[in-house]
Symmetry: D2
Subunit: 411 residues, 4 copies
């Protein structure tokens, strides 16, 4: 259809923001500027101040950043005495005025500050990077977690699922984006552009990512998919380039073989579950031959668990390892009654089930070290995702195929 | 440049949302669904519930809507006793845990509900419409202003200036958007498509709007601009179609002759100031011949003020009317010391100055009734906007040209 | 997918061409400029000359245009003596040099001139308009048909099917294009923008057009489609706005109820057949429920034929009129043995068959005058189009349903 | 601006064509299919036949291709006896009918065949590749040049300057296009993606290409530009990555340091001149600080000429080499009186002048071998391009700066 794109030129505007310069040489007065920005009512001066603050922030040393976060944490905090008093007032008279006063007091100044900062062009990406720094500081200064609570709260609101847009990443995508896919791939390294081409270009490969309109060249999370005949049992075979690509119509299975978060500043603002499910739904609609949606996933905690159980993987054959892996996934729980394995928690929480286990599935060094080469398929059964996710979230029920259950019993 | 558009296919995704069906026949259980949604942890069930709630909401009667808002207002409110108690706890020990507990208690459940609702595709526009209904209810049920405080707070965060995108609206824009420009023009009615063409197509006309990426076919606010030689003194002459369009290079003045808010559900989430200033900056960059940026604005409160002052406009000539209008704009203040005239407040708050007054400038019926045909140019002097806005916001200083000041003294 | 659009910014470039100014006051020297252009080897001077020629052409009077075409026809013709001589030379020695000499001599200078003219930005549309003028002149000055032969030859090469792009026209298309759809609709008038909306916006309506990349805002030909349940028997009912739109999934039939050529300067460069077939194929792929593809077509020659046969339509009932219409379509032939009816020739030539006849199908004044309200469905049976088109082109075989054949026999 | 892009979805259509499958196993009957295609009147069968022919062509061996071209050359040639006879007829009576008969006879069937083939989706790129094969055959079988004359004639018409679109190629362009830039760079090799990034991404680098709408991912020709302060005298310094990028506003000179044709099948269909001039005009408009437009060009024939003149470069210092290079460029002529140096012919034909010579400008092996490290700046003086091009084309006048002239005299 012709030019139906009401967003078609958002681009230029949004991309322009990337060139937004914010160099500033004076580093000392960033706090004063923050206080000024909170007081500033004229919008244009606010934008200039915000840009100035980002400029100063950009050249802070690590120690200065820590001092800046301390300032946010202590001086731009809520005043609990005031909150308590206004809560009393509101309890006695539930008027809009009293409510407004309470709301305002209960929101720390640092939250307002982040919102004001966000008005500047390109600011959202800057704030995400700022949180990356903050998270690093929280590790050594746990009390800064209070500031992080506010920042995470804001980012969750701004990166609300309803604002994200899923896009396919292809060999036709801008190099600006593709180079980030190379950088951010966290599960199975992409060595270079030729390797990337092999992940994107063949007819039986797909890659999908979430983007936020304010950061149009920054993928937030992406998943790589292979279209196959039957459920695969080896990641090396899957990634291998020797074979011919399948025709779309020949494939009956979609394999989510790698999922990577890109923005460490968005930790805890999760969208991985949405992405896999939307990709599964879209693929299922576009390629009706696809009947099975599975992962080919690592089992990062297997060797640790075996060792804790005093079992030596070296003495076990493939059949026994598979059985023990099944037992591990189905029975090893943490203090809260959830599976010990983090990848299992992620997919089971999404409504997937443990489908099958394969020995010799990841023969790389890390595959041997983590799980003695065993990998697992989690299966997304579109008709039952919702029900399984609910059951898991209510009672930690682990869905598993009857084969897997039988296997686990054998161990 | 080739395909630099990382947003180019956001379109299809975003537009698809418009067809999002949400008919639902069961109207009674919307509250239960809201409670369920707040408790739901599985994401996909959440999306389905949200869609269900919008479906039910869409067919509520006015009374049912009122009841729904009462439910949000009373049952999904904060618990002030709990807030007070947790504020005390936090005062005694400023741990992240205590802070998290306080933050959570101080945020009413209805805010969380709106955020969950917003995860559904197309939800943002629905929530804006919901607020339109809420604002209508607040008029007769002022205590609902508490719920509105929360909703406005959220919308301000979501429609943060940094997320908005300015677009030129032209005769090449989609009809979907153009028909909304016709509908929303609030100052000088656009009679039909031919009339719209006259506002958009000539070389000496421009129209700019803000959009939010989640509502790509819904302008939020738009401003209409005429490029002229010299500052215009008659809106009828300006809108008249008899003349030839100026070449861009002949114009030295940009006239903002109409600015219209489109979404009544976004009342109080203002972006008018940003729009005018960004348009002025962009025009100034693209057409360096443009030296003067003015409005041609109504003076809605003039006749009311004259009448309060016991002055009969009928007995005054143009010169006297201009002088009185100048006096009105420069001296008539409200209880807070701000100009009585709402249009004056808007432009002075933006950093404009009162530039010139014209009699016979709006000879339409409404022009005669409001201001005895007098209109005013507010001038945006790009180099002094920021300073003037700050002075106005600090001390209600009204910037005016020396001619206007002299004129006011004469009255 | 992100930014896969290698054409995405062709737009600006191409649209810019529309503002290409070509006013020029000197009208007399256009022929000299043409001769100069043919001789010019420096490219940039060629572009300037071409723009100058278009500028001069634009302000020629009708008589001057005629003189210009006479000039092309007589002075820029081939030299047949030279052609004959070079053909002899080539017959005697088939060398590349001799072939080149013959080729060059056999191509008239006016063809080279048109190609040089076409190098200027925006020129293609100008040349199409030039041919519109030429065709008007040919009517009264038939010898100019020689020049038209060359121009048509060139336009066929430039508007080769492989260069055209089919686009859906929707309510989201630019107003620039939509206003042309209103202007060019030749079969069932579109009264205004509301009427246009009814043709484009409902879920059971479609419109598709061919565009040429050099004229991106000018549709070349478009077809309007209604999705229906069953084959329609009344154009008034079809166009009527009373009913609810069908869901796409409810429709089983696509009706091509109007097809309009837009550029009279492209007469004889036909793409109507391609358009209908591509639309049928695309719809069939996207909406698998669609099983039947038909037109609802006028029978422009029926009343003339009845009158020639001395049959008075006034005395006939619907059944008889349908039978006679069937007889007319299946048996009335021209001197070359092809159907007399031009619409029949078009659709049968495309590989359609006469499917059904309806009395009372077009009750408008023109429907009564042309065909006593009778209309016909031509059916495009995707599996048999190619075979039927071949049979028709070989032996004028008229494909018809058995019902229609029986009906024709009854007359 | 919002969705003004009437071409915005041409993309999908055009890109779809790339996946157009044309595998076919029967190789023998390609000639029969060509004859059938020439006779076919039903359009859809024509498309199928064309696709079949491309399919068969794709798997021909070199010998079979040669045989295919012989078939085109001999059996689909014009009939000179018929042409001569129809030319006589037309000389005697200049009727449109006689003209039509002559025109048709004078056009060989192979030209019609190529036009029919071009109707298939994706065909234009196939035909360009076919000409690549043909040109290879012409080298050993020069009589095939007759067929090439026709093919070149058609391609010139289809790739008419007016149909081409200039696009900037940036780091945001699709990888599909970028990998072709790497492949096609013919002057200064691009080693890998990082190297490409250095050519495209810095603020002081640009790359522009021509595209044809039917081949939207295939650049036809591209030029690489560096923005500099002053005229550069060393290609190694220019390409070196050590320095910081200039700000656009600091640059006063645009250097066309590399220009590469991409499609060998389009040899002789030149657009290099247009590209440089359009880039110069566009840059001059967008960056008014740019005052000087020059190349930094090789002098491929210098060493050959010195050797022919019995001058040994080894014994000369830089000053002497520069002087001799100036003399070579200004005085060494071929039989037609044009400069011997092919690069000089290209730029002087475009209207450039010889601006300055630099020793030590290209210290690479090939720079030493070709021109003893001497390079030359050709200057494009926008105000005089047209005049100089005309003078050169009329009288082979070589424009040169007074410095260069003085230098040449010194030699």
């Amino acid at each position: 259809m012709i030019a139906t794109n009401p967003l078609s030129e958002l681009l230029s505007t949004l991309l322009d923001r990337r060139n937004f310069g914010r160099k500033d040489t004076d580093t000392r007065r960033i706090r004063d500027d923050c206080v000024k920005l909170l007081a500033e009512r004229a919008e244009i001066s606010g934008l200039q101040l915000a840009a100035k603050i980002f400029g100063k922030y950009a050249i802070l040393t690590d120690d200065e950043k820590l001092a800046f976060f301390e300032f946010l944490n202590e001086e731009l905090d809520v005043d609990p005495t005031l909150v308590a008093s206004l809560a009393e007032t509101y309890r006695n008279a539930r008027t809009p005025e009293n409510y407004a006063a309470l709301s305002r007091a209960a929101e720390p100044a640092r939250q307002r500050l982040f919102r004001r900062l966000n008005e500047a062009p390109g600011a959202t990406a800057e704030i995400v990077r700022m949180r990356e720094d903050l998270l690093a500081c929280v590790k050594t200064h746990p009390h800064l977690a209070r500031t992080d609570l506010d920042l995470q709260h804001l980012l969750r609101s701004w990166f609300n699922r309803g604002f994200l847009v899923m896009q396919q990443v292809t060999w036709d995508s801008p190099a600006t984006i593709l180079e980030k896919i190379i950088t951010y791939e966290a599960v199975h390294e992409i060595k270079n552009w030729d390797d990337l081409r092999r992940r994107l270009h063949p007819k039986d490969r797909r890659c999908f990512a979430f983007f936020h309109p304010s950061m149009p060249t920054e993928p937030l999370i992406f998943v790589e998919v292979a279209l196959t005949k039957g459920v695969p049992n080896s990641i090396q075979t899957l990634l291998d380039d020797n074979g011919k690509a399948l025709l779309e119509t020949e494939a009956n299975t979609a394999v989510f073989y790698s999922i990577s978060n890109c923005q460490s500043g968005l930790a805890g603002v999760s969208f991985g579950s949405s992405l896999i499910k939307q990709v599964a739904r879209d693929l299922s609609r576009d390629l009706p031959n696809l009947k099975t949606f599975v992962t080919l996933s690592p089992i990062p905690g297997l060797m640790r668990w075996l060792s804790a159980e005093n079992i030596s993987a070296d003495e076990l054959d493939g059949a026994n390892l598979r059985a023990l892996a099944a037992k591990y996934l189905l029975t090893a729980k943490d203090a809260k009654g959830r599976p010990v394995d983090p990848v299992a928690r992620f997919h089971l929480g999404n409504g997937a089930q443990v489908h099958a286990l394969h020995h010799g599935a990841n023969t790389s060094t890390s595959g041997q070290r983590q799980s003695a080469t065993v990998m697992v398929n989690y299966r997304y059964d579109l008709g039952r995702i919702s029900q399984r996710a609910t059951q898991y979230s209510k009672s930690n029920t682990i869905a598993a195929s009857s084969d897997t259950k039988a296997l686990a019993k054998r161990a």
